[in-house]
Symmetry: C2
Subunit: 84 residues, 2 copies
């Protein structure tokens, strides 16, 4: 739960997650959406990946990233237990 909250505690990373909700994207395409260097985006992707929020698959010279929504169920459950 710690890595999940940590991953989501950054506006850039939340935006990446929202982008990947729409469609899978490779690292370069993701980086294009931000005024942040590619190494920084790569670092954000690493944090999201460690939190299991995204997965990556090498496709030739590209690395395609996808959103993993299943981990979000844990988060929703944690929150819901607070509300009742």
């Amino acid at each position: 739960m710690n890595s999940l909250f940590k991953a989501l505690n950054d506006e850039t990373r939340r935006q990446i997650v929202e982008l990947l909700k729409e469609k899978d994207m490779n690292a370069g395409e993701i980086a294009e959406q931000f005024n942040i260097s590619k190494p920084s985006i790569s670092h954000h992707l690493d944090i999201l990946k460690r939190a299991d929020l995204i997965t990556s698959e090498k496709k030739g010279q590209f690395v395609e990233y996808s959103l993993n929504t299943s981990i979000l169920e844990d988060l929703i459950n944690w929150i819901i237990t607070l509300t009742k």
Copy 2:
């Protein structure tokens, strides 16, 4: 949304929230539950309060804290939109 994620991105603060789920508590009672100084707990309470996750009410020389679950709906909604 930023302050909400920030507030929840700390194990101690998440535990405070879980404590307040069970019952309202004053600052001293909350602090007793942790091996952390009272000023530090006071600081955590301030962050939770700024995020609107808790409310406080002065009762004599004590300050009683309560969980505010309504703000969690925003969070749940944000997460759910990602899953569909």
